[in-house]
């Protein structure tokens, strides 16, 4: 150590101490320790830190009207729900179609109880899940109760879990939050406390289609196509297929290389996906979900028949013939 402190010229008024390997090592060990501890917290909590929306979001959407999120003080109830569709996609439900046992099961709970939902998309179309206090529509979803969202829904076979803690007595509804699906029957009630069980007013889903729906007449002659295919207002509800007005015009013929544009003039989000509802997408083109007011364009270079449909509303079908 003595040579470590010696000044090379020996002229200094006081000895010069210099850093030693041991002290550099100590410093590195301290820094490495900080990095290991900090890194464990950093990676361990990576997702947690971005898990909460800012409080102003709940206020701006009137979140105080919707009960939760509330403190969990009571029992935990588990509920398994699966999205199912009738074969013609007109009737949607949880667990079983209307008329069968287990259709849209009601959940009875007390204030402070927690329901854990395990939802699975057993259908072919897109769905998403949430709990709301509103007795119609798809808004007012209580934070924490949602699984996926209408703009990023569960695809066929996907699933997820969420929780709902009841903060006040009343009737809540678990619904499919994809616009239109609640009205088609994807809604069940959650009764919190001693509220009288409601008339199943929302369960107005039609009987499992007794009247034979006319098959969409895809075979009709293709019309000459000019410009844009419109997805008209109301195509998000079944019925437009009876007159082939889900995509207008629904059957077009274009020449190879011509650009085809779809314009979503409806209030709901739709897709333009090549294939058919029965066989699923064939991969030629897919708009994925595009919002009301936006457009999607595709250019087909090879001649042939291109049937297409909407993944969210599978009664919506159309056809393109490329010459």
């Amino acid at each position: 150590m003595s040579n470590e402190t010696e000044h090379p010229k020996g002229e200094a008024a006081h000895p010069v101490y210099r850093t030693t390997p041991a002290r550099t090592g100590k410093m590195l060990v301290i820094m490495l320790g900080i990095c290991i501890v900090g890194g464990a917290i950093f990676f361990g909590m990576w997702d947690y830190w971005i898990s909460q929306p800012p409080p102003v979001v709940a206020m701006m959407s009137g979140g105080d009207d919707h009960g939760g999120p509330a403190a969990h003080t009571g029992d935990t109830i588990s509920s398994d729900l699966s999205f199912i569709e009738s074969s013609d996609f007109r009737t949607l439900a949880f667990n079983a179609l209307p008329g069968e046992s287990g259709n849209n099961p009601s959940i009875q709970m007390s204030v402070g109880d927690k329901v854990v939902f395990n939802v699975v998309n057993d259908g072919r179309s897109f769905h998403s899940f949430g709990v709301t206090h509103d007795d119609e529509g798809f808004s007012g979803i209580i934070p924490g109760s949602e699984v996926a969202s209408a703009s990023n829904p569960l695809k066929a076979g996907e699933g997820g879990t969420s929780e709902f803690v009841a903060g006040e007595e009343g009737i809540f509804y678990y619904i499919c939050t994809v616009p239109g699906h609640r009205e088609q029957g994807m809604v069940g009630t959650i009764i919190v406390g001693d509220v009288a069980a409601p008339e199943p007013v929302v369960e107005t889903a039609p009987e499992p289609v007794v009247e034979t729906a006319p098959e969409p007449v895809v075979e009709s002659a293709p019309v000459e196509f000019s410009g844009v295919i419109s997805l008209p207002e109301g195509s998000g509800a079944p019925g437009c297929d009876e007159t082939n007005e889900c995509y207008i015009p629904f059957n077009v013929s274009v020449s190879a290389g011509e650009e085809i544009t779809w314009s979503n003039d409806d209030s709901a989000a739709h897709t333009v996906t090549s294939g058919s509802p029965a066989e699923g997408p064939d991969g030629n083109f897919d708009s994925s979900l595009f919002m009301a007011g936006s457009t999607f364009s595709v250019t087909l270079d090879e001649s042939g028949e291109y049937p297409y449909f909407c993944m969210v509303h599978p009664w919506m079908i159309g056809n393109i013939t490329v010459n």
Binding site: K9, R23, M27, W49, P53, V56
Partner: protein, 508 residues
């Protein structure tokens, strides 16, 4: 990396010391740690942009988090603490006082930085270092965003406390025999930048609080849905952070003022013009903030005022460059590592400044706004000028801090690779911006020119990355096992050094 002023002490005594060289050492180690962390994020960004599409970063939000923390870290946790480290080591010695004016306040200012840095790093917010409203208010997920706001709040207070300390130390504690006109230019640079901090930071402190209450929903200053105006935030933010650019660059220029005369073996060409340029920069720095906002629909009159205000910074900057060149002129220059960094820094300062003058012209600004031109421009300043001056000064300080010499060859390789890399990355990004590539994008369309220029920039970044590994190895190895430095004249250029061993009252 611990120099012993009087006798070897346990490391915890250094950590909880209030002595200016000890606090300076803590600042130094912390800032270097964050330099490497922030630099690693930069490499991740460049690797991601090497090709269109997702490469190594999974999704756009993670990308946003990475470049947000990259910017925040390198500005607030590397450049500012590094300047404080240099100031702590040198300012009391230069004004011949035993310590900083308020030693405990000095230690408090340092110890506010680790919690602030931890909040920023653990949260990893995603709303850019500008905390872009209204996104940051109505959409940025918490608690990360709130942690960023609190982290910045803490770092802002730390800056203000540090600035008060420097101002009082320089103005009130300098030796009675010493007039303000004899204070060395490095100390002058801390006086100028500290005064800017004191005027500028409170505005941002207010803006941060407003951002927080907006997020909580109790106010709507910047929330259009509640009648607020995001442009108001832009004014408050840039009123702080345009002058903050000068807070960052002035100490780096001060460091060059210490290095360049020493290695040119000539006195500084014009001390008075240096002082004048510092003071002028500190004043005109406040007349240009809205040049960041030309594209927000300001009136022609406002734009003209801020264009002229921006150009007013040119003479002051040019005075420094002229001063450096005139000092080197006819000097017996010794190109040791610190001198190479300083001279490279001047060259890049000139280039960045030339780009800035072009950019300040509002018609051009409309085509460069929010493009990679801007990224290239300000990085050329912060990397090419500020980091070059700082790293050069770190090599210059190294023998004083450790009593040992770094490896000269590795230092020169570090400089050469960083210089080439900086030019490859940031000059290219200027051109990329003129080709229309927007900044802050995770993915880009496969336009051949964009791909080529992004790849040049990414390769440049990797060269800088490799040079930084060499730098790290040099620092670690040399601080433990480097050759003993001649503490009177470690660089063999003669003259009187300001020397931390001269610190008074070395262990209290």
């Amino acid at each position: 990396m611990v120099v012993e002023l009087a006798k070897p002490r346990p490391i915890w005594q250094i950590m909880f010391s209030t002595h200016h060289t000890d606090v300076g050492l803590l600042y130094l180690i912390l800032s270097l740690g964050f330099l490497f962390l922030g630099g690693a994020l930069a490499l991740a960004i460049r690797a991601e942009l090497f090709l269109p599409g997702a490469q190594i970063i999974g999704d756009a939000m993670t990308f946003n988090r990475i470049f947000t923390v990259h910017g925040t870290t390198l500005i607030f946790l590397f450049i500012l603490p590094f300047a404080s480290a240099v100031g702590n080591y040198y300012v009391p010695i230069m004004v011949r006082y035993k310590d900083m004016a308020y030693p405990k306040l000095n230690a408090i200012a340092f110890w506010m930085i680790p919690p602030g840095g931890a909040l920023i790093w653990l949260g990893f917010a995603d709303f850019t270092w500008y905390a872009t409203p209204p996104y940051s208010i109505i959409s940025a997920p918490g608690p990360a965003a709130d942690m960023w706001i609190f982290g910045l709040k803490i770092l802002g207070i730390s800056s203000v406390l540090g600035a008060i300390n420097f101002v009082v130390t320089i103005l009130k504690c300098k030796h009675p025999d010493m007039s303000i006109g004899q204070v060395p230019l490095l100390a002058w640079s801390f006086l100028a930048s500290s005064l800017i901090i004191l005027v500028a930071i409170p505005t941002f402190a207010a803006a941060l609080l407003m951002l927080l209450t907006d997020r909580l929903g109790v106010s709507g200053f910047f929330n259009p849905a509640m009648g607020g105006d995001p442009i108001a935030y832009a004014h408050l933010f840039w009123f702080t952070f345009h002058p903050e650019v000068y807070v960052l660059v002035i100490p780096a220029i001060g460091m060059m003022y210490e290095i360049i005369p020493r290695f040119s073996r000539k006195p500084i060409y014009s001390y008075n013009s240096g002082v004048f340029a510092f003071v002028l920069l500190a004043i005109v720095g406040f007349s240009s903030w809205a040049h960041h906002m030309y594209a927000t629909g300001m009136s022609f009159t406002e734009k003209t005022v801020f264009m002229v205000g921006t150009l007013a910074a040119v003479p002051a900057s040019a005075m420094h460059v002229y001063n450096f060149v005139a000092t080197m002129w006819n000097g017996r220059i010794k190109f040791s590592t610190p001198m190479m960094w300083a001279v490279g820094g001047i060259a890049l300062f000139f280039s960045a400044g030339a780009g800035g003058v072009a950019n300040a012209a509002m018609p051009l600004d409309f085509s460069t706004h929010d493009s990679y031109w801007v990224v290239g421009h300000f990085h050329l300043f912060v990397m090419g000028t500020i980091a070059f001056g700082s790293i050069g000064f770190l090599y210059y300080m190294f023998p004083y801090v450790t009593g040992r010499m770094y490896n000269e060859t590795m230092g020169k390789v570090h400089f050469a690779m960083s210089f080439i890399g900086t030019i490859l990355v940031f000059f290219t990004q200027h051109v990329l911006g003129l080709y229309g590539m927007p900044r802050r994008v995770f993915d880009y369309p496969p336009i051949p020119e964009w791909i080529a220029m992004n790849q040049i920039a990414s390769i440049g970044a990797m060269i800088i990355g490799v040079s930084m590994v060499i730098f790290l190895a040099n620092m670690i190895y040399s601080s433990g096992k480097g050759p003993l430095a001649d503490t009177d004249d470690p660089f063999g250029v003669g003259g009187k050094y300001y020397y931390p061993f001269e610190a008074k009252n070395p262990h209290h």
